[in-house]
């Protein structure tokens, strides 16, 4: 996607609120800018509004008030199909098309964009290499893959048309600890090479610290604070401190149970 304003934020929330049709507020008064090439992580518990925020970016949801701009253009006024095809989208349940092979799954956007078959095939091969998958999985169906492989395909699919923005909604949340750790590290090195603008949603502080250039802490539909990972550890914000305590002391206290 072309960047219309050269040095402005890639994603810009201005006093954004989102309410359900029945009036229940899910997100209130959010103002935040995401800069080119950074990984902004929304951290919060379920129901804090982080997924809602993500969906406002690719217009799966439309703000009830305020405005969301992507590359300077109001999402509410832009061509929604073009907007979405310029943004990679990865979700926890992956959402691979079960009736398509891995190759077709990865090639969905290039195909509807009318790329020639040869070029799609080439791109699929590149992407499989990029996300660390064996090239012989191309003809398999999603149900024949492991959870980790499926999420790799999900990431490859999101990157297929080389979008400048990547939205990731707890992409590694459903994986076992070892696979998750591996994918997080691979994603980190991938991101260092690709320099996408990434918006990442998680409830895992460890993941947020590892992947984020900034951490946006959410609670009950409000943005509490935005901090760099080192600042987050030193923060006086009670919720931030609670996170640090839960994750920092979690392992020790579990390991020592009953002994003290």
């Amino acid at each position: 996607m072309e960047r219309t304003s050269a040095n402005g934020p890639v994603i810009d929330f201005r006093r954004v609120a989102y309410r359900l049709p029945n009036g229940q507020p899910l997100l209130q008064d959010l103002s935040l800018q995401v800069q080119h090439g950074e990984t902004l992580v929304f951290l919060g518990r379920s129901g804090s509004g982080k997924t809602t925020t993500l969906k406002l970016i690719n217009r799966l949801l439309i703000p009830s008030s305020g405005e969301v701009r992507v590359n300077g253009a109001l999402t509410a006024e832009s061509d929604v199909i073009r907007l979405r095809r310029g943004i990679g989208y990865v979700i926890q349940d992956v959402g691979l098309f079960p009736h398509f092979t891995v190759e077709r799954n990865i090639g969905v956007v290039p195909r509807i964009e009318g790329w020639p078959a040869q070029q799609i095939q080439q791109r699929v091969k590149e992407l499989l290499h990029l996300v660390g998958l064996d090239p012989n999985v191309t003809s398999r169906y999603p149900h024949q893959l492991s959870g980790g492989q499926r999420q790799r395909v999900g990431v490859a699919r999101a990157l297929a048309a080389d979008p400048a923005i990547l939205l990731m909604d707890e992409p590694f949340g459903a994986l076992d600890a070892l696979t998750r750790d591996q994918l997080q590290r691979e994603f980190l090195s991938l991101q260092q090479r690709l320099k996408k603008t990434v918006v990442f949603v998680t409830h895992d502080l460890r993941e947020a610290m590892l992947l984020g250039s900034r951490i946006a802490l959410m609670e009950s539909g409000r943005l509490l604070t935005v901090l760099s990972p080192p600042d987050f550890l030193r923060s006086n914000d009670p919720l931030a401190a609670a996170y640090v305590q839960a994750f920092g002391e979690g392992l020790d206290s579990v390991a020592n149970r009953g002994t003290s």
């Binding site: 690719n58 799966l60 929604v80 199909i81 073009r82 907007l83 979405r84 095809r85 943004i87 989208y89 979700i91 926890q92 349940d93 992956v94 959402g95 691979l96 098309f97 079960p98 009736h99 969905v108 956007v109 509807i112 169906y141 999900g154 699919r157 999101a158 939205l167």
Partner: protein, 210 residues
């Protein structure tokens, strides 16, 4: 065996009425599919339409078949010819399973798959034809299968209004208290229903393995 003898003797008429029967079932099923699938899609995508559409189809289903033939008799153009009338009545009966299964099939598509597709920038049309319908196809097909099997049986009643088909034998047999005549209608109809059930079932299973 005089029953076999009877079959052989009347094989031309049996064949003719079987073809008539096939025609009634085939045309009405085709119409039910052409009308029912779009209605099923509409009720799955716009919940407002769900109740009126499925409700109406349900009500039609509860009208006794003979009575439905009677109700349709005064309708212009339709009532003018017995086969039109029979086809319309059979179509109306076949609608419910087709609509209901299209609805169920589409609603049953994994929400994350639809969300991922939408988030990637598939248009509604692309989502429908490339994702929702292919994934719902085995469920839709099982609805069509029910519709066909029911239609084969119901179409025998069409003979009561002179639309032909295998019901001719059955009604004649009933009037003459002749079991051989009844069987001459019932056996081909049963074979037709069973083969449709088997063939469509096979297709359905092949689609489901994906």
């Amino acid at each position: 065996m005089n029953f076999l003898h009877f079959f052989l003797q009347h094989h031309e008429e049996i064949l003719e009425l079987t073809l008539e029967h096939l025609w009634l079932v085939g045309v009405s099923t085709l119409l039910a599919v052409l009308i029912g699938i779009p209605l099923g899609i509409v009720s799955a995508h716009w919940p407002v339409w769900n109740k009126p559409v499925l409700g109406t189809a349900n009500i039609i289903q509860t009208v006794p078949s003979l009575a439905l033939f009677g109700f349709l008799l005064p309708v212009p153009w339709i009532g003018a010819r017995a086969d039109r009338l029979a086809i319309l009545a059979l179509t109306l009966y076949a609608l419910l399973p087709v609509i209901r299964n299209t609805y169920t099939g589409i609603r049953g598509v994994d929400a994350s798959v639809v969300e991922a597709g939408r988030g990637m920038g598939l248009t509604d049309r692309q989502l429908l034809f490339q994702v929702e319908l292919p994934l719902a196809m085995s469920v839709i097909l099982s609805g069509i299968r029910v519709a066909v099997v029911v239609s084969v049986g119901l179409a025998t009643i069409a003979a009561a209004i002179g639309a032909g088909g295998l019901g001719e034998f059955i009604f004649r047999g009933l009037a003459m208290v002749n079991n051989q005549l009844i069987l001459a209608g019932a056996i081909p109809a049963a074979i037709m229903a069973l083969s449709a059930d088997f063939g469509l079932g096979l297709l359905e299973r092949r689609l489901r393995t994906r």
